[in-house]
Symmetry: C2
Subunit: 145 residues, 2 copies
DNA sequence: CTTAAATAATTGATATATCAACTAATTTTT
DNA sequence: AAAAATTAGTTGATATATCAATTATTTAAG
C-alpha cells in the first residue's frame, strides 16, 4: 500500500483542472464583478426566467443555502429580483433584471473564450471521448448508497 | 451566440465530477473526522515529513493562507506539529505525529476505494487518454498571461 | 377541521478559496 | 552596516460548500 502517488490521483488531477478553468473564466469576466457561481445562476435564468429557488438549486446543483446567498448578492447588484409566489407563499420566483439581460452576450462570450483556450490542440474526437469518460465517472459515483 | 448550453460546458461537467469525487472520498473517510484537504496535506507529509508551509503550499497547490488554516486544524487534532526552523526563524517545519502516521493505510485505502469506484467500466487505455487530455487542458490554461 | 408531516427558504456552524494587508525575519543594495 | 526589498507565515474580508436546525406555509392524516 505504500506506493500511492497523490499526484497521479484522478481526483487531484481533476480538481486542479477545475480550479484553473474557474480562474480562467473569472479572468474573462474580470471587469464585471460577477463570480463564476453567480454567472452560472444567471445563465440558468436566461433559459428559465421566473423559476423557483428550489428549481434553480436543482439545475445548478448548488445547495439551497448557497442559492440563497448567491441570490442575495445578485439582488444587491440589481441583477435579479425575488417575487413571492401567489399560489404558494413559501416560494420565491426569481427574475432577471434588464441589467442582467443586457450582459448575456458578455457572459456567454466569457464561457466560450474559456473553452476555446482550454481546448487548444484537442480534436473533436478526443473531446468527445473525454466527455464520455467524464460522464462515466460521474455516473459511477452516483450518490445513493 | 444564443445557443450556448451550460450543461455541455466543460467546466461545469468537470466541476460536477470533482464534487462527486470529493464526496465519495469523504464518505470513505467518514469515521475519521478528516476533510479531503486535510487528508491531502497529511498525504504529502508522508513523503516529505518536515517540509515548510511554503513547500506544502506548492505541493498541494493550496494557498499559503489555506495551509495556515488547515494546519491549525490538524494541530488541534494532534495530527501534525509545527516547529520553528533554527536557520530561518520565519519558517515553520511541519511534522506528522505518531497518530497521523498510524492512519496512513486508512487514508491511502480511502483514496484507492474512491478511484476504483470511479473507474468501473473504464479501460486502462481510456484512462490513459483521459489523463492526457486533462493534462493538455491544464497546460493550456497556464496562468502567466 | 385540526393535528401531523412535508416543503421552500433561511440561518448558523464549520471548512475552504482567493486576495489583500500585515508582521517578523532575512537578504540585497548601496 | 543601514535602508530597501524580499520572503514566510498570519490575518481579515468576501464568496462558496455542506450540513443541521429553524421558520413559515402547505398538504396529508386522523
Amino acid at each position: 500500500m505504500t506506493n500511492y502517488d497523490i499526484d497521479q490521483s484522478l481526483g487531484y488531477m481533476l480538481s486542479k483542472v477545475v480550479s484553473r478553468m474557474r480562474m480562467e473564466l473569472l479572468k474573462n469576466m474580470r471587469d464585471m464583478d460577477i463570480t463564476t457561481e453567480q454567472r452560472h445562476v444567471i445563465m440558468r435564468l436566461y433559459n428559465h426566467d421566473g423559476i423557483t429557488q428550489k428549481e434553480l438549486s436543482k439545475l445548478t446543483s448548488y445547495d439551497p443555502s448557497s442559492i440563497t446567498l448567491i441570490l442575495d448578492k445578485l439582488e444587491l447588484k440589481k441583477l435579479v429580483k425575488r417575487e413571492r409566489c401567489e399560489k404558494d407563499r413559501r416560494v420565491f420566483k426569481v427574475y432577471l433584471t434588464t441589467k442582467a439581460k443586457s450582459i448575456k452576450d458578455k457572459l456567454i462570450e466569457a464561457g466560450l473564450q474559456t473553452q476555446n483556450k482550454a481546448m487548444v490542440g484537442i480534436s473533436n474526437d478526443e473531446l468527445s471521448n473525454f466527455r464520455d469518460i467524464c460522464q462515466k465517472i460521474y455516473n459511477n459515483l452516483s450518490m445513493e448508497s
